[in-house]
Homo-oligomer: 451 residues x 2
């Protein structure tokens, strides 16, 4: 599908899948009052480096002939492509704080770049769709619920295998660890976060060797990480472990509200899962990850959380909560497995051409149909009708229109080339079914079997 | 508007202008059967350099820690950001030729980057919207007509000052120059193309000093460049100059068809203008430029033409015709002059909050409205109603919804905060006017005066 590893491109029918998905996301985000913004693709290195560890994955840019020193100066002047949409958004919020109304809901759908080694679900250029809500000074927990609800609703409308939105809360983990007498809880989280890839008994040993835990403490941490539930029963399960701490109580209540509040979107299960910690990230409360059935090897396809400290301008702090859908991580593997659209063009109708002299008559039909919102093209050349029909068929265009010959008593006719049905039609009134107006997604057989 | 010169960003209300424009462009292009594609932002240097002279404006990219040699190899391995959408599209066509159906109509709306010195209408990061039609081996002239028609229709729907789509044809210029006895017509075009910036008498001297023309030849070239007309009268005007050549005849007939065929889009005048030559570009026939009234200093905001030789894979040639709209070049100056939207959010309704305990009741109203496609948000906090209304007003949200208090006989009520009208309403049936569903563009006073 691509000749430059890690930079996926799509053929037109595959691209139509992406358009359907992006239109759906924009529609759901907009219905919930999230404003669209775009940030420039480029940030100064020092803005990007605030986050720290991602350093090595950044692509810097410079002018090929930077004779005037542009791009060749010290590190403060170096520009780089953004590697996510959260860091640029935080910069945008602080830069425009005086002109924005808080709480500020925004969505942002853009390409980002990382110089990682390409592999399944990991690209060097990819599209992310982020929603965030940022407030000034204080952001109540109902916004965490809202973020989960909106993304669950967005995910539920996608043509993909079943999804599980896993929610946890850093305060639970930190409070629990503190309650256990662990003095450095932040050393524990990155180790527990590896439970995906490393067996539990190994994690127990790492917790002792690298984070200085006792065997009993390590066992308790693993017991906590083992708790998951699709309802608020996780609260009792945590209590049963016998650990108490005020921060733990706070986290349990926050997580309860998110899990209960976001439940109920068709095709997306929302679960409390205390294994989720989000490694070294900047989250301070709620954290999200998302797994896709049969594509668990992709890791989380939609992640985020609450960050109380990400954006600050010295005078004010802008706490936020958000979640980022990896559109490319989700779609590229599904498309490689056969997810596609029923057509490679937007056209619902191909107007046939009798001969080159009567092209204006065919164009007039197309103009009449387009005026009523029906995507229409006129045949490229006056081949035999059989060839014109096959040309439409090859591209998935459902209807071929045969203009009435000039000076004849005949009516216009339109043929549904899927059924073969052909009937008289008037360019001023005829319309296809609403479902034929736009490209439709064709799910591959695997999806039909399992869902 | 931006803190990094040449990288424009928008506030949410301004961004809504961009969204309206992009949705309109996508809609028109799709109605005409143009398929959407996106190419990666990055190309190998040797793909970009095929075009030649743009070399100095390219941004190269490299991984910050390219220890494995990635990005640090010889020039063939160097990656750069694309500087237009035509060169990547030509690469895409050749790479996927076996999987595409020709003639292939596509639109492509993406950011591009150029390391130019930023100035009015010139940016380092900007958005272009391109349409092209590419065929295999042969592309009849009616596709040039189609490209002009589609872009004229797209431009006609934009909230901008009046536009003039200027069309010329390289064959006219080349045939005319050959008919005059000039042996190197390609030396003449770049000089005539400077008529924008350099006075005609200087151009006449340059044609003699730099292109070796006689004073009479130079005068004839300038006479040709002086011809423009909104109909096919330009043909007679050219004939009256007394020059004959078969290529001139061919070009005149092609241009006549484009100008006559594309006329008639409201708010966009299509004119034959023989001053247009498109400098050093790769065009072989039709050429397009576009001027905007009162913003002539921006230069052409929408340019393109016929390129018979751009894409080739050795076995086949893929002639094309296309035109590229500079979306940023168009919008950034207009927005700086006051073009904006009536709201900074997509929300049409703000559901007020009685108190935090009844948030679920307010959320239920929002859910009911969204289910019928009405963008709705719930108030962030239970401030006094006056404050909640002012919050909606500040962001341009036209309606505030007051939920019926629980255990009361009262109805829900909705207030149009522009008129002050307030009335009972049912969340299951109430709807705003269709024009209130989406952000509307507010044109600045200058536009209203002059158009």
């Amino acid at each position: 599908m691509t000749k430059l590893s890690g930079f996926p491109e799509f053929l037109p029918a595959e691209r139509n899948v992406g358009l359907v998905v992006l239109d759906h996301l924009r529609s759901v985000f907009g219905l919930h009052g999230f404003a669209s913004i775009e940030t420039r693709a480029v940030e100064p290195m020092d803005t990007l480096l605030r986050k720290g560890e991602i350093d090595k994955e950044v692509y810097t840019i410079r002018r090929l002939h930077a004779a005037d020193g542009d791009g060749g100066g010290d590190r403060g002047d170096v520009l780089a492509l953004h590697f996510d949409l959260t860091v640029p958004f935080a910069r945008y919020v602080v830069e425009n704080a005086g002109k924005l109304d808080f709480p500020f809901r925004r969505y942002q759908i853009q390409k980002v770049w990382r110089g990682e080694r390409p592999q399944q679900g990991r690209f060097r250029e990819f599209v992310q769709a982020d929603i965030d809500i940022v407030a000034k000074d204080e952001l109540p927990i109902h916004f965490d619920v809202e973020i989960a609800q909106v993304m669950a609703e967005a995910l539920a409308g996608l043509p993909v295998p079943p999804l599980t939105l896993q929610v946890s809360n850093r305060k639970i983990l930190e409070g629990f660890y503190l309650g256990l007498g662990i003095t450095e809880p932040t050393a524990v989280m990155p180790i527990v976060d590896k439970l995906d890839k490393v067996p539990a008994d190994k994690i127990a040993l790492l917790l002792q060797s690298d984070a200085g835990l006792t065997a009993a403490q390590a066992a308790s941490c693993l017991a906590l990480a083992g708790i998951s539930a699709a309802d608020d029963s996780f609260v009792a399960a945590v209590r049963a472990l016998g650990v108490t701490h005020p921060l733990l109580d706070e986290g349990l209540e926050e997580l309860r509200r998110v899990v209960v509040g976001a439940a109920g979107a068709d095709g997306v299960e929302v679960v409390a899962d205390l294994r989720i910690a989000r490694g070294l990230d900047y989250y301070t409360g709620t954290v999200f990850e998302t797994r896709m059935a049969r594509y668990e090897h992709l890791g989380s396809i939609c992640s985020g959380g609450r960050y109380d400290q990400l954006a600050s301008d010295g005078k004010a702090t802008y706490p936020g909560v958000g979640i980022s859908l990896g559109v490319s991580r989700l779609l590229v593997p599904l498309i490689a497995d056969g997810l596609t659209a029923d057509r490679s063009v937007p056209s619902a109708v191909l107007v046939a051409l009798i001969d080159e002299d009567t092209r204006p008559a065919s164009v007039a039909v197309a103009v009449a149909l387009r005026a009523r919102g029906i995507p229409t093209e006129v045949a490229a050349s006056a081949q035999k009708y059989g060839k014109q029909i096959r040309n439409a068929e090859r591209r998935g265009i459902p209807f071929v229109w045969f203009p009435a010959p000039l000076d004849s008593e005949d009516e216009h006719q339109v043929k549904d080339i899927r059924s073969g049905d052909q009937a008289d039609a008037d360019p001023a009134t005829w319309a296809p079914a609403a479902t034929d107006l736009k490209p439709r997604i064709l799910t591959p057989p695997a999806k039909e079997q399992n869902t």
